[in-house]
Symmetry: C2
Subunit: 281 residues, 2 copies
């Protein structure tokens, strides 16, 4: 994965060098690559192989990295650390961090539109899926806005779920769908894999919220306890810690159930769902 | 054009409403719509009609508007006024301006990938063209970075041209190319229209630099004289005002020359080149 990302992103020496350094700094800062793995493994679940889809998988990591860089900006979450390292704007300044985020977002669509052109119809569908999942209506940016506007509001289960379905859920779901579309999945397969992606997404966010309460900043590699201080709407805030843990486990089981028709080919997707719930950072 | 843009962008009341208000605020702030007109008229020059290409034309205005919102941010050009109105971040705050820019960029690709699917191969080419033109390597973001890094550097003709070819030229050129590709232009037609787009782009930037020196803020609708204060590399700074005006006129003539094979069908493109050079704001 990292080799393919390295190939797709301009070199640190390519002019204008500063922005390529900033893009690479955040892209190779130790991300877990969950979205590209979801994409690859969804393709494998459908067709038994994941060759060729790796370029699309990388586009998902580019989108994810752009969103982290912009989220960390002083005007947004104002975070100084991410994955144990200073955030992009702390190292390269705010102007370069804004532009590096813009560039990664743009590059994601460049990469998707420049893949091998055997199935242009699937390619266009993948681009449309990613754009919607990254956008304002039920997508990532929409969730980010709802999250910002939700700070200090009464934490209801409905608001909580709608924020997270959009903010993290939409791209995780799209990761699976892009892989499935690439591999030529039929409507039923796409439906099951989308359902898997939604349950994984919700599990991921519940665990993220739990870790923010339970772990130290050192263990997380980013500032812990920020959610409570910023009066963010979180699962522990709405349901309490014990119930949140039960909910994460329930989502994990539902993710497994959605994979039932795929048999052995979906084993790594099952492992990934387990890993998402059992992770410690 | 504005009716189509209105159709493509979520309503002010669609949740999350704030970001849709911010996107629309900047999108309907009195832009000249030069890029979409270039796209439409390039299609007309090739095929005699411009139906259907309007959606792609709008994508160009979405990209342009995102770039203005981000350029105006305090961390970048720090502009309070644009087209005579307070800039997006002055009205909606920095966080919302960053996200509104991200959302317009994302929506541009959504719009391009969701057009009618008669020619998916052309559609994918158009998406790839736009992504490259908006990107870091010879594209808009690359030009923006070079521009930021060029402040205070010795103003050479080479640096000046390379900045503007990327910063404004790439998207203007892509506007023409997208229209041409949509209309099924052959390689020779695309070459001539690209050349027209390049000359228009350079003319546009030279005139922009001249206006920044000669006009008042009131006439421009934005802060005048900023280039000199920020020690930007401009055409008047490198060549002087008189020579800059001669160069703009030369670019206009070369733009006309590139259109020679298209005859009457390219009349509006000729008028547009004239308008770009003769505008006063």
């Amino acid at each position: 994965m990292d080799r393919e990302l390295d190939r797709l992103v301009p070199r640190e020496t390519d002019p204008p060098a500063t922005i390529h350094r900033a893009m690479r700094y955040s892209l190779f800062a130790g991300g877990k690559r969950i979205r590209p793995i979801l994409c690859l493994e969804a393709a494998r679940a459908v067709s038994g192989e994941a060759d060729g889809v790796i370029t699309a998988a990388c586009a998902l990591e580019l989108i994810h990295t752009y969103s982290l860089i912009h989220d960390d900006l002083p005007a947004l979450d104002n975070d100084d650390y991410r994955r144990g390292k200073p955030t992009c704007h702390k190292v390269f300044g705010e102007a370069m961090a804004i532009l590096a985020g813009d560039a990664l977002l743009t590059l994601a669509f460049q990469v998707l539109s420049s893949m091998n052109r055997h199935y242009v119809d699937r390619q266009v569908r993948m681009i449309a899926e990613l754009a919607v999942a990254a956008g304002t209506q039920g997508g990532m940016i929409g969730g980010q806005v709802a999250d910002l506007e939700g700070e200090g509001q009464p934490p209801t289960p409905e608001l909580l779920e709608s924020i997270h379905r959009a903010k993290t859920g939409a791209i995780l779901r799209a990761s699976v769908r892009l892989g499935a579309i690439y591999a030529g999945a039929d409507a039923h397969q796409i439906h099951r894999l989308s359902s898997y992606g939604e349950h994984c997404g919700l599990a991921f966010q519940i665990v993220d919220d739990i870790l923010d309460v339970e772990q130290s900043s050192e263990e997380l590699g980013k500032t812990a306890g920020k959610d409570a201080r910023q009066q963010k709407i979180t699962f522990p805030a709405v349901y309490g810690l014990a119930e949140s843990k039960r909910m994460a486990e329930q989502q994990r089981l539902m993710a497994h159930e959605a994979l039932e028709p795929f048999g052995e080919r979906a084993q790594r997707l099952r492992d990934l769902a387990d890993m998402i719930v059992k992770r410690s950072h």
